[in-house]
Symmetry: C3
Subunit: 357 residues, 3 copies
C-alpha cells in the first residue's frame, strides 16, 4: 500500500548515463533513459513481442528495442521500426519524470495529476557551500518499516552501537508533531560525549573530539516517503542546534524510500553537509562510513518483515518513541484515501494498528 | 503447451557415457542411461521408496537404484533387488528412445504411437564431408519463444550486432511459406559486406574477407520444435545460394528446442559445415563463437517470458517478420489438436493471438 | 506431521555461547540463549515491533532486543525497556528447555506437559571412557525420510560404497522388533572383510585391519525422532557383539533428527566411542570422515522428497528391510494420535501406506 500519485526518487543520473535502466517502482516495471529532450520513462515492455525495452539502447535520443529494433517514443507511442508502419501499433504507458536535485523523479500514478512543482525543494542540493554523497540499497521489506526505522532513532543505540549510537539517545525524551503533511520528531541530548562518527566529524571540522557536546536529531517526514534528518553536535553550552557554525558539525541525513513491491523497496540514502563542501575525499569517506552504518539495518528490517508476514494478526506496539512512524503512516493513509475508489474505507494494516501500552 | 507425441532431442551420448542422466522433458522426469541393448529411458522414480534412479548407476547394462539396490528394467519393470522378490512390485513408465545422428531422442507421449522412422533425417550428421559442433543451454522461457526467435533473424541486427548482425538484414525482405508441416522463412541480401562471423568463415575457407558477398538465411521449422537454418555467403555475383562451392562459405545452424516445463526449455544448438570437416580446431573455434553469440539471446528471452507472464492479457504483434514464428505455432497447434481429448478446442494462447498491424 | 509434545535436540551449547541463536523447530521460530539461570528459549519475535530477538544480545543474563532495547524475560514477559513501562506489553511464548548431555533440548508443544525427566538418558555422554564428536546438517526433506534412512542400513552398500558399505550388508538378514516405544533393527554379518571405515577403526584401536571380522549394526529408534546405532566389528570368531573389548572396535552412531518444517529438518549427527577417549585428534578424524559419509545421503534424501511431493498419490513399498522405518512411523503415529484433537483420525500419509510386495 503506497500512494501512486506522488513523486518518488527512481534513480540517479549516473544510472542512465550510458544505457537505459529497467527498474520496478510501485509495482510498475519502468525503463528510464535519457531522451533527446531530457529524461524519459515508459513501460519496460515492447508492444511488438513483449521484450524488455531496458535491454535496448538509446540512439539519437530515441529508445530502440534491443530485440527487433522498434523505436519507442517517450510518450509510449512507437515511432518507427525497420520495414514497418507503426501507426497502428499499440502504445505503452509513459510516466511523468523529472531530473532535479541530482535525482531522477518519477510519478507512477495518474499523469494528469503530476505537477513537477510539487517535488520537494532540496536547498542543500542547489545551495553553494553544500556537498552531497550517497548510495542505493535494495531492501527486502515494505517501505513503511524503513520510515518507522528512520522516524525513531532510538534504534541507533542498538543497531549502530559502534558508530552513531550512544545510550543517551535512549534516555533523551522525544517530541513528535505533525504540521500539515509533515511529521517532525526531535530529540536533544545535552552535554554528552560524541560517539565515533561525530568525533570524526568534529575532527573533520577542525574541532576537538574529546569534549562534551550538545547533540540533536530532527527527523522530517514528508509524503509519500521522504525522511530528511537534521543531525549534529555543537560544543556543549554553545547553543546546541542554534550554536554558531564555528562550534558545530552538522549535516542532513537524506532518505528517499521508494516502494518496489509490497514487501521490497529501493533505499536512496545519503548525507548533505555544509562544511568542507569542496573536499571530495571527505565526501567519499563519509559515504563509505554511512553506507556501512546503514547496511546494519538491513538484516533487522528484512527479518522484521518476515516476522510480520508470518503473524499478520499480531498487533504491534505504538509507544511514544514510535510516534514519528505512527504519525507518518497516518499522513500516508490520508494520501491513500484520496486515491481509493469510493466505497468502504481501506482497513488499517494490522502492523499499524494502535495498541494501548 | 507442447505436443507429447513427438520425438525430442533429450541429450547427447556423452551425457550418459559414464552414468545415468536425470532430465525433465515435457514435464516428465526421466532418467536416461545406456542399457545392455542400447539407450533406455524410464521414469526417474524408484518404486521402492521414490528415490531418483538417476542417482544410481548402470551395472552390466542394468540400471541400479543408488539407495537400496533395486534393479530396474528398461521397460520400467523391476528386475531384481537383493533379498527381495520383485514380481509384485509396481512398475514405472518407460519411454521410447533412440540414439541417432549424434543425439538421444525421446518420445514423451503415448509409446504405442512412437515410430523411430519419423525421426527427421539429418543428412549432415551422416554424410562424409560434414562436421558438427554444438552445445546445450537451459533457458528460462517457453520453447515457442525460442522458435519465434530463430524463425525471425531480424533480431541478429540488434542482439548479435557485433558478430552476425548487420543492418542489411533489417532491410532485406523476408519470405515465408508453409509446405505441409514445414515452415520456411528465407532472406537474401545481395552485395553486402560480410559481418565479423562470416569474415572469419570466409578466411577459414580460403576466401577473401573484405569484398562484397551475397548472403542468405533459410530457416526450416519442422514440428515439434526443430529449426535448421541454412546460412552462408558467396562472393558477390557468383550465384549466391547456388554459387559453386569454391566461392562460398556456408553451414547449417542446428537448433533442437526441447520443452522442460511450460516456461523453460533445453536448447541444443550447434553448427554443421561441409568445409574443412576434418579440422577439429576449427570446429572448436566455431562452437566457442556460436556459444557466445547464442548466449546473447538468453537475457532477452527470459525477460520477455517474465513480461508475458506479467501481462497474460496483452496481445503481441504479428508482423510480416514474425510470419515464420506465427506459421510454426500454427503447425504446433495442429499437432496439439491431434492430441487433445474430444471436446472444446484449446483456445489459442494470448501471446500467439493475431493482431492487425 | 511431527509430535510437538516431545523433547528435541535444538542446538549445541557452542551455538549459544556468545550470542542468541534463532532457529525454527517444528515450525516454531525460537530464539535460544544463555540466561542468568541457564539456557532459555522464547519466540523469536519482539512484541514491540516484531523484530527478531535473535539479532539482539544477552546482557547480564537478559535477552535484549537489538532494535530498540526491549528486555525480554525468559518466560516471554517483557522485563524492561528504556523510557517505557512494560507492564501492559503483550507476552510471547516461552519454551521449556534443558541443557543435558552436551545438547540443548527444547519442548515445542504444551509446556505443562514438559518433564525434563523424560529426556532420554545418554550413558555415553556422561560415562568416563567415552568420547563424542559430531556435527549439524540442514537437510531439505521431512524428518521421517531420515528416520527411514537410518533404520534401514541396507543403503550403506549403495550410498556409502567407498567407506562403510559392503555387499554383505545387503545379503545379511535383518530383524526388527518393537519394545514399547522403542524400535530395534539388528543385522549381524559374520566372517566378512572390514570396509575402509572399519579398517581405520581397527587400526586406531591397535588391531589388524586385514583379517575377517564379525560386524553388527543395531539401530534403536526412540520417539520422537532419535536414532542411536550400535555399530562395530570384532575379530572373527571372538564372540562378535559380545566379544571382549580387546578384540573389537565399536561405537554408537548418534542421530538426533529435529523437524524444522514439514519438508526440512536439522540433522545432528555424531559418533560416541569408548576407546581412546582422550585422543582428540582421533575424535576430529572420525568427525571429518563421518561428516563426509553422512553428506552423501543429502542429495538422495532431498530428491526423494521432491519425487514424493510430485507424486503424493503414489504408495511406496514397505519391504522387510523397511520394517525399521515402518515400525518407527507407527510409534510416531501413536504419539501424534495422543496430540490430535478428538475427531476423525488423521489418515496415514501416502508415503507410509502399506503395499503388499
Amino acid at each position: 500500500m503506497y500512494p501512486k500519485n506522488a513523486w518518488y526518487v527512481a534513480a540517479t543520473p549516473e544510472e542512465i548515463a550510458d544505457k537505459p535502466l529497467g527498474r520496478q517502482i510501485c509495482s510498475e516495471k519502468i525503463v528510464f533513459y535519457r531522451a533527446a529532450q531530457g529524461v524519459a520513462a515508459v513501460e519496460d515492455f515492447c508492444p511488438h513481442r513483449g521484450a524488455p525495452l531496458s535491454l535496448g539502447f538509446v540512439r539519437d535520443g530515441t529508445l530502440v528495442c534491443g530485440y527487433h529494433g522498434l523505436q519507442m517514443g517517450c510518450d509510449g507511442k512507437p515511432v518507427a521500426m525497420p520495414g514497418q508502419r507503426v501507426r497502428g501499433f499499440p502504445c505503452i504507458r509513459s510516466y511523468p519524470v523529472a531530473e532535479r536535485y541530482g535525482f531522477i523523479w518519477v510519478w507512477p500514478g495518474d499523469p494528469a495529476l503530476a505537477d513537477p512543482a510539487t517535488i520537494p525543494h532540496l536547498h542543500w542540493a542547489v545551495d553553494e557551500g553544500w556537498a552531497y554523497g550517497g548510495g542505493l540499497y535494495h531492501i527486502g521489506c515494505e517501505y513503511r518499516l524503513m520510515i518507522d526505522n528512520l522516524m525513531d532513532l532510538t534504534h541507533e543505540t542498538y543497531v549502530h552501537a559502534s558508530s552513531i549510537g550512544q545510550k543517551e539517545i535512549d534516555e533523551a525524551p522525544v517530541t513528535t508533531k505533525t504540521v500539515g503533511d509533515e511529521v517532525i520528531t526531535s530529540r536533544f541530548m545535552e552535554n554528552v560525549m560524541p560517539p565515533p562518527f561525530w568525533q570524526a566529524a568534529l575532527r573533520g571540522n577542525g574541532l576537538p573530539d574529546d569534549v562534551p557536546v550538545d547533540r540533536w536529531q530532527i527527523c522530517h517526514f514528508t509524503p509519500p516517503s521522504h525522511v530528511l534528518i537534521e543531525v549534529g553536535v555543537a560544543l556543549a553550552g554553545k547553543g546546541g542546534y542554534d550554536a554558531p557554525a564555528e562550534f558545530k558539525a552538522s549535516s542532513i541525513v537524506v532518505d528517499f524510500i521508494t516502494p518496489e513491491t509490497d514487501t521490497t523497496h529501493w533505499y536512496f540514502w545519503g548525507m548533505a553537509r555544509n562544511f568542507k563542501a569542496d573536499d571530495q575525499a571527505l565526501t567519499d569517506t563519509i559515504r563509505t562510513g554511512q553506507g556501512k552504518i546503514f547496511s546494519e539495518d538491513r538484516a533487522m528490517l528484512e527479518q522484521q518483515q518476515a516476522n510480520i508476514l508470518r503473524h499478520p494478526d499480531r498487533r504491534l506496539l505504538m509507544l511514544n518513541i514510535d510516534a514519528g512512524g505512527v504519525q507518518s503512516r497516518k499522513v500516508i493513509d490520508r494520501w491513500l484515501a484520496r486515491e481509493a475508489p469510493a466505497g468502504p474505507a481501506e482497513p488499517a494494516a494490522p502492523a499499524s494498528a494502535q495498541v494501548a501500552a
